[in-house]
Amino acid sequence: MRDQDTNFQAESPALEAWRMFRRNIPALIGVAMLSLIILATLYGSFFYGGDPFDIVWAPQEPPGMTPEFPLGTDYLGRDLVAGLLTGGGPTLAVGAAAAAITMGIGISMGALAGYYGGWVDNLLMRVTEFFQVLPALLFAMVLVTLFSPSLFTIAMAIGLVSWPQTARLTRAEFLKIKQLEYVTAARAIGARNKRIIWKVILPNALPPLIVSATLTVGVAILFEAGLSFLGLGDPNVMSWGLMIGSNREYILDAWWPVTFPGLAIFFTVFSVSLIGDGLNDAFNPKLRER
């Protein structure tokens, strides 16, 4: 396998990565699954119709008993299919927003620390360690409760507790890359620090960061689900976590209202991590045999 690497050296890294990715079947399955899930949550309710909060049938109708409600109803008699289709949107949106916040804070902190080094590095890394010490879920719960649960506060809270790992990763990449020749060269021709950070080093540090961002989306989705399950989600917005949390009281009588949203979360995070793995392999062809 290793010999093949040399064949691609002439091509651009991105193209090479794409070729690797294209041949990675699990990753492609991930892409297909995620696209399907996103399409379903975006347009599904358009075709399927119905407010997921509406009581439409007898409570706890088992799946497969009534053709109109193929997955059955929850403890109030609300349609689970409608809930699943509508509930994915907020979950995915919070996941993506939280990942964006995580990456935003993490990359900025890591880049500054790694590039400038010295006291800047020291200070920023102390801050990073400080945030790593806080138990993430607990801290996020406190934030959400204190500032009342909404999709915005939830995304903010998840972002605030998850950025340190990204910061560390970015810093490590910057430390490595800033010693490379082309960076020294850029500095020699008088490029400003700002330019070197964002235009020279960052693009070259991107591959591992993209992988990390993908995985962060998965973690953030699980996080949102956990908060909603504990009853700290936004109660006016149907989400998968809320469906699990509000039906939990009734699991002894009805397994389906908890099981299906759980599966939905699982498949989403699963597909996201398949994609992440695929990207990882694609960016690191040498590690592919692992």
Binding site: F130, T145, L222, R290
Partner: protein, 325 residues
């Protein structure tokens, strides 16, 4: 390992803890809502005089800076304040809950490392074999399942449909006077489902990690030499390779500790486990601020200690790092 390193590490840990105290305090004091109203609500109602006396009693009528200094002073003396809900000091509430959480977290940690490493090593033996594929898939699945959902599914399966395991806490109250062995077995019986639930997520990560680092080590000159010298495959795998792959596993185990505590919070809630996570969750619902601050403080402290221990064992395990600052 020298003492100055340890001292520095400890001092730094203390500084972090101080930061946690300040952050907790400011967060809760500056957030909207009046703590005095919360306390009065728990007592069953309030008049203006009652509110004033509550503010006096809990020191809520002083300027925030003074309150902060008082709080730091108290924390230094081991006093985390009085719970708004329970008629007890926060420190004694936490003391009642620490051991169950540690038991759960450590069991899950050990369970996930042991099973994870065994799976990872087996997979590394044949990188393209069935076991390897299984580990990859299993690792991704374990990572993608919401931990509370696993817990609920296990409750339905093993407590309701097949009532094999209890779910009402850490021990059967009817056996509270039982002798040591019976009690230990009873706790073990209660521990199975929650510990397994918590272990599943991390198990997968350790399997994946140990597979990767085993592969790396197995490809190294060092192992080639061992093989050339005629060491048996089993000896190569477990004696030589695993020892070297242990370092990254150790690092991750240390870093995971904080996440494990977060996971424990969900698991404790699902299984009624009498730990700190459930105390924190219930206190959040009751807006019992001193208890929330106390648990945050204590849990952060556990992470700091875990980090220091990881650092130390890292140094012990890797001779190259010894003596370095």
């Amino acid at each position: 390992m020298n003492t100055s390193f340890l001292l520095r590490r400890l001092g730094y840990g203390l500084l972090l803890m101080l930061g946690v105290v300040v952050l907790n305090f400011l967060l809760i004091r500056l957030a909207p809502g009046d703590p005095a109203l919360v306390i009065a609500g728990e007592m069953g109602g309030a008049t203006q005089e009652m509110l004033d006396s509550i503010r006096e009693e809990y020191g809520l009528n002083k300027p925030v800076a003074v309150q902060l200094l008082l709080y730091i002073g108290n924390v230094l003396q081991g006093d985390l304040g009085e719970s708004f809900f329970f008629n007890q000091p926060v420190s004694s509430l936490i003391a009642q809950r620490v051991l169950p959480t540690i038991l759960l977290v450590i069991t899950a940690q050990v369970l996930s490392i042991v099973i994870g490493v065994v799976l990872g090593v087996l997979a590394a033996r044949k990188p393209n074999g069935v076991m390897s594929a299984f580990v990859s898939v299993f690792a991704t699945i374990g990572y993608a399942v919401p931990v509370f959902w696993t817990g609920i599914m296990l409750v339905i399966l093993f407590a309701s449909i097949f009532p094999i395991f209890p779910v009402e806490g850490m021990q059967s109250v009817k056996l509270r006077d039982a002798s040591g062995l019976v009690k230990a077995l009873d706790i073990l019986h209660h521990l199975v489902l929650p510990a397994f639930t918590l272990a599943v997520i991390y198990l997968a990560q350790y399997a994946r990690l140990s597979r990767a680092s085993m592969l790396e080590v197995l490809g190294s000159d060092y192992i080639r030499t061992a093989r050339a010298k005629g060491a048996s495959p089993r000896s190569v795998l477990f004696k030589h390779a695993l020892r070297n792959a242990a370092l990254p596993i150790l690092t991750v185990a240390g870093l995971q500790f904080g996440n494990l505590i977060s996971g424990a919070l969900l698991v404790e809630t699902v299984f009624n486990w009498p730990g700190m996570g459930r105390l924190a969750f219930e206190s959040i619902l009751r807006r019992d601020y001193p208890t929330i601050m106390g648990v945050l403080f204590f849990a952060s402290g556990m992470v700091v200690v875990a980090n220091i221990l990881t650092d130390m064992s890292y140094r012990l395990a890797d001779p190259r790092l010894r003596g370095k600052g």
